[in-house]
């Protein structure tokens, strides 16, 4: 699995380093306060470059999703690919795991979980938040 994820580049290195400690880092602009994901060299809100990585709360809601029935190599169908909106604002592409695909719904509250990669990094995934 890890061999399929390209190595970090100059801008994304802190993001991937964070995953070694199971910390989901997203960028915040010191100028305009905007959060963004994926990491970039500049802020898409104001165009400036004074960006810091902050740890996301891990709380999110499913924006939309799809259950893949024809798996790509290395994947086992069915699996759930989803766009989740972090509490901080940005949308991430991810998988919804530890949940029957039929139970996944738009708007559902989800929380962060992690899958270890062979090289010490982790892949951020999401699972339905505990009810109540």
């Amino acid at each position: 699995m890890s061999t399929e994820i390209p190595l970090p580049d100059d801008v994304t290195a802190p993001y991937w380093a964070g995953t070694e400690e199971k910390r989901l880092l997203i960028q915040r602009c010191a100028e305009c306060g905007r959060f963004q994901h994926y990491p970039r060299y500049m802020c898409t809100g104001c165009g400036r470059g004074d960006l810091e990585f902050v740890e996301a709360s891990g709380e999110a809601a499913i924006d939309t999703f799809t259950v893949v029935h024809r798996p790509l190599p290395g994947f086992e169908a069915p699996y759930v690919v989803a766009r989740v909106r972090l509490a901080e604002g940005p949308i991430l592409l991810t998988n919804i795991v530890d949940c029957p695909p039929d139970d996944v719904a738009c708007g559902q509250a989800v929380r962060l979980t992690w899958r270890p990669l062979e090289d010490g990094r982790h892949l951020p995934l999401f699972t339905p938040a505990k009810e109540g």
Partner: protein
């Protein structure tokens, strides 16, 4: 309004051809020129994609030309609608007098299409999306469809209707891949294998070989040629994303902006359009595009297309060739939207010819061609008309 017209249009061989990309290009271009009453010697502008890194250069050399203007903007299936805009500007500016827009693909014969898409490891998508296994482009359109159904409580059957109507048109087009395949029902679509929920294989466009070309020149010159000119009335485009998480709301596409620009330039509204050729990579693409272009309100496309309105004989004839769903989809289908729009405006549709008003029996006056490329990434609208 512009002072440029399409004067020739043609398809290459279609379906499963066993021919190379450049062979298909070299079929389509001379056919379109012959349709216009022109020859290769008249061509001084070429716009094309999907051949190689140097697509327009490659085609120019293959044809033995030294064009004064080329464009190989890569924007997926909508590139050809963008080329119309660029060609109009080049002709009006005097940089070119006769522009050919062309395409060819042998993806079915060459088995070059894969569900995973093309991996470009230096892109952000490679680090932040491919680890999760989305099918490209299928899963993105599936997520858009899921969001649409959730947001509006829309009926899944409305998506299927797009494919059912496309098949009805294809049954009237001898060149359609599904000509002779028999009708498709809503139950057929819903009962087909799910690839990426909620979309089934029947919600997705074909994988075929194919290609086509259109020829543009100034309206003044067009009036002296053998065909009635099909005038470019307006154009517009909008580019929104390469990744699956970039757009905030998947149900509102860049066709909002491209359509507004095109209708504005043409001085027209959706009510003026007699026939629509709308990129149908997936059934959901058509619903989202109709809403974004203003043919109905957001969330209302299901009602708009109900009761057979987009089928043959309906009041909103759409994808009259059978579309990417049932006619042909050679990877970047946009050039064939233009070819079919021209055919309809010239009254050459044969068994599938649209009438402007059911009462009048006249050929349509205004056609809309709308291209969508990538994963709802690029959007380009062209309005065409005859006098």
């Amino acid at each position: 309004m512009t002072n440029v017209a399409i004067v020739g249009a043609a398809e290459s061989d279609l379906g499963r051809t066993g021919k190379s990309i450049l062979t298909l290009q070299a079929q389509a271009i001379p056919r379109a020129l012959a349709d216009a009453g022109l020859t290769l010697a008249d061509v001084d502008g070429i716009a094309t994609a999907g051949v190689s890194r140097f697509s327009a250069t490659q085609v120019a050399e293959y044809l033995g030309l030294r064009p004064a203007w080329t464009d190989s903007t890569f924007a997926g299936g909508s590139a050809f609608e963008m080329y119309v805009a660029r060609a109009v500007q080049a002709i009006e500016a005097g940089q070119a007098s006769t522009v050919v827009i062309s395409y060819g693909s042998n993806q079915r014969s060459a088995r070059s299409r894969s569900l995973g898409g093309v991996k470009e490891t230096h892109t952000p998508e490679a680090q932040f999306e491919t680890p999760y296994g989305p099918l490209y482009p299928f899963s993105h359109y599936a997520m858009a469809a899921q969001s649409y159904l959730h947001k509006y409580g829309a009926a899944r059957e409305s998506l299927a209707e797009v494919a059912v109507a496309a098949r009805e048109w294809a049954l009237r087009n001898p060149k359609a891949y599904r000509y002779g395949a028999g009708p498709l029902t809503v139950d057929d679509v819903l009962g087909s294998d799910t690839v990426s929920s909620p979309l089934t294989v029947a919600d997705a466009c074909l994988v075929t070989d194919g290609g086509g070309a259109v020829v543009l020149t100034s309206l003044d010159r067009a009036r002296d040629l053998r065909r009635d000119p099909v005038r470019v009335l307006g154009y517009g485009e909008c580019t929104t994303n390469t990744s699956m998480a970039a757009v905030d709301d998947l149900t509102v596409t860049g066709a909002v902006e491209s359509g507004r620009a095109a209708f504005g330039r043409a001085g027209l509204t959706p009510a003026d359009v007699d026939v629509l050729e709308v990129y149908d990579s997936f059934t959901i693409t058509v619903l989202l595009t109709l809403e974004a272009l203003g043919f109905c309100g957001f969330g209302e496309a299901g009602d708009l297309i109900a009761d057979g309105r987009i089928r043959p004989g309906g009041g909103l004839p759409l994808n009259t060739s059978g579309g990417g769903l049932s006619y042909n989809h050679p990877g970047q289908y946009g050039v064939l939207l233009l070819v079919e729009a021209v055919r309809q405006l010239r009254g050459e549709g044969g068994a599938r010819q649209v009438e402007a008003g059911a009462a009048t029996g006249a050929a349509p006056k205004v056609a809309l061609a709308h291209g969508t490329g990538g994963i709802l990434s690029t959007h380009a609208t062209v309005l065409l008309g005859v006098e």
